[in-house]
């Protein structure tokens, strides 16, 4: 019983990170139909830039904000420099461009930073909290709380503001959006900035627990992609549910089977979704209207 609770708590913590990565996938997918495989690199950049600016002497909160801002700019640059020039190319080509970009960013990070693993201090110390026999590090609460705030904030943005509506409209019907005066190119820029910022925030929150190195983005992109597929690509609610579900599945697999199998869970989820329910839990059917 204690063990189960322990697995659930750690599952929800990693699940919250996967949910944020999946949300990043979702936002860009909605705006452009592109699955952005550089999404994991945004998380890495969030962690790495915070590490190095903090080591350079900046206070941690300032280092974190700076990391998120710089990563947003990287997201905008990815769109402007790599994807916009290829506008009109098939979606598959655009996806391959994002894979190229992810390799490039990883290489650049290795040169600019280094190949070591890093961390910075937890925000509220490392004194474990005991809950019914299970333990939780305070940073876990930061991760879960941060994810909750991001999802609430985004929900308000999409449902309550005209700009949010413009993003949804672009996702729904780009041509019609242009005809009602929405600058869809600008909405794309906004989506990349938002998506990169969310990724970076996840990196900032989770680095004290999992550490960060130049290549952590690869695994995170895979997990986030699996979570987004499970929830239904393009649906923010799906990203949340898919992320938490994947985190729990991994934690339970590691706990009751073997931690060796943990990373296989994401692959199995991807395959299972593709075979059994290609639209995911909350996705809508993709049959085209003719």
């Amino acid at each position: 019983m204690d063990a189960l609770l322990q697995f659930l708590l750690s599952g929800v913590t990693v699940g919250a990170v996967y949910a944020l990565v999946a949300l990043g996938f979702t936002i860009i997918y909605n705006a452009s139909d592109v699955v952005n495989f550089a999404q994991g690199e945004f998380v890495m950049l969030g962690g790495m830039i915070t590490v190095f600016t903090y080591q350079a002497g900046l206070p941690l909160p300032l280092a974190a904000v700076l990391a998120i801002a710089i990563t947003s700019l990287v997201g905008v640059a990815l769109n402007k420099l790599a994807l916009e020039p290829a506008r009109g190319a098939p979606v598959v080509s655009l996806i391959i461009i994002t894979i190229g970009a992810s390799i490039f960013i990883r290489g650049a990070a290795q040169l600019i930073f280094d190949k070591q693993l890093h961390r910075f201090p937890s925000f509220s110390g490392d004194q474990p909290i005991h809950i019914l026999g299970a333990t939780l590090v305070p940073q876990s609460l930061w991760v879960i709380g941060g994810a909750v705030l991001v999802f609430i904030g985004l929900w308000l943005f999409f449902t309550k503001t005209l700009t949010g509506k413009a993003v949804l409209a672009t996702a729904n019907n780009r041509l019609a959006a242009q005809l009602v005066g929405i600058n869809t190119g600008w909405i794309m820029t906004l989506s990349f900035a938002l998506s990169a910022a969310i990724g970076a925030l996840a990196g900032v929150l989770v680095t004290p627990i999992t550490l960060v190195g130049y290549d952590v983005g690869v695994g995170l992109a895979l997990k986030g992609f699996a979570a987004a597929m499970l929830g239904g690509m393009g649906n923010p609610k799906g990203a949340l549910v898919g992320g938490i579900a994947l985190g729990l599945l991994e934690a339970l697999t590691a706990g009751y089977l073997s931690s060796q199998y943990k990373d296989a869970v994401a692959f199995i989820v991807i395959l299972a979704v593709l075979f059994v329910m290609p639209q995911g839990l909350f996705g809508k059917s993709t049959t085209e209207r003719v």
């Binding site: 308000l156 943005f157 309550k160 503001t161 005209l162 700009t163 949010g164 509506k165 413009a166 949804l168 409209a169 729904n172 019907n173 041509l175 019609a176 959006a177 242009q178 005809l179 009602v180 005066g181 929405i182 600058n183 869809t184 906004l190 809508k284 209207r289």
Partner: protein
């Protein structure tokens, strides 16, 4: 200087000259109809005027200003927008939201207040919501305001697309077969709405197969055939023009002058 001035407009697809050297103009409050058999190039002409296609020759001028090749969203903000023959609706949004996004263009520079959830953002959103409801009432869609647009009947969607365009307070409105697929009552309604809009000072460009409607409400008719303008003038003069009659007969009887019920 006309409100809208189109001159020498042309575009080719591969070997096909879909529209060639077409010109006309429209004044505020005028209803200008573009007619012609299927495949004559009417929709392509609209696509060029509204910035969806880039013409390879000719000019589009709005208030004397050259706007050829401007992006659709910029034209929309300048007061020129359109509806589509094959409906372009935000299917996954509610009827009300479809119209609300039409108010988006008057909201530039508002992102910061939206992101920071400032009271101003809420207020703008409230005003847009009220005005959108008012527009929906005008085409009797207010009862369906909260329904998903995808669930509406075809005729209702046609009306929704028109009021969504109205949210932008256009000065030039292009309507591509607004009554196609509508029943007699709906057609009548759209007919009235178009006349009302013209009376309020909007210049209307209309593509419509219902010839009775075209002849009744147009001030000016432009006839296209195989991408070229073959006649232009008042409804009476055009309907008596032998070239026009020949073009319609040549296209087969499903395209006769009063086709498309």
């Amino acid at each position: 200087m006309s409100l809208l001035d189109v001159s020498g407009l042309g575009i080719g697809f591969g070997g096909l000259r879909a529209v060639d050297n077409v010109g006309f103009s429209a004044e505020p409050g005028e209803i200008v109809s573009i007619i012609g058999p299927n495949g004559a190039g009417k929709t392509t002409l609209f696509n060029m005027i509204s910035g969806v296609y880039l013409p390879d020759s000719g000019h589009v001028r709005l208030d004397g200003r050259d706007v050829t090749g401007a992006a659709p969203h910029r034209l929309a903000r300048m007061g020129l927008t359109r509806t589509f023959q094959n409906l372009q609706i935000f299917q996954d949004m509610t009827v009300l939201e479809n119209v609300i996004v039409g108010f988006h263009q008057s909201e530039s520079g508002a992102l910061l207040s939206d992101l920071l959830a400032l009271p101003a953002a809420r207020k703008r959103s409230e005003i847009a919501r009220m005005q959108a409801r008012e527009l929906l009432r005008r085409v009797r869609l207010d009862k369906a305001a909260e329904e998903l647009a995808g669930n509406l009947s075809y005729g209702a969607l046609k009306r929704l697309e028109i009021v969504r365009a109205l949210a932008m307070q256009p000065r030039v409105l292009l309507l591509d077969e607004p009554a196609a697929g509508c029943n007699a009552v709906e057609t009548e309604e759209i007919d009235h709405l178009i006349v009302e809009l013209a009376q309020s000072g909007i210049a209307i460009l209309l593509v419509e197969h219902d010839m009775k409607m075209v002849m009744r409400i147009s001030n000016h008719v432009v006839v296209l055939d195989h991408g070229e303008k073959i006649a232009e003038g008042s409804p009476e003069s055009v309907s008596k023009n032998p070239d026009v009659i020949a073009a319609y007969l040549g296209a087969g009887d499903e395209e006769s002058v009063d086709a498309d019920s």
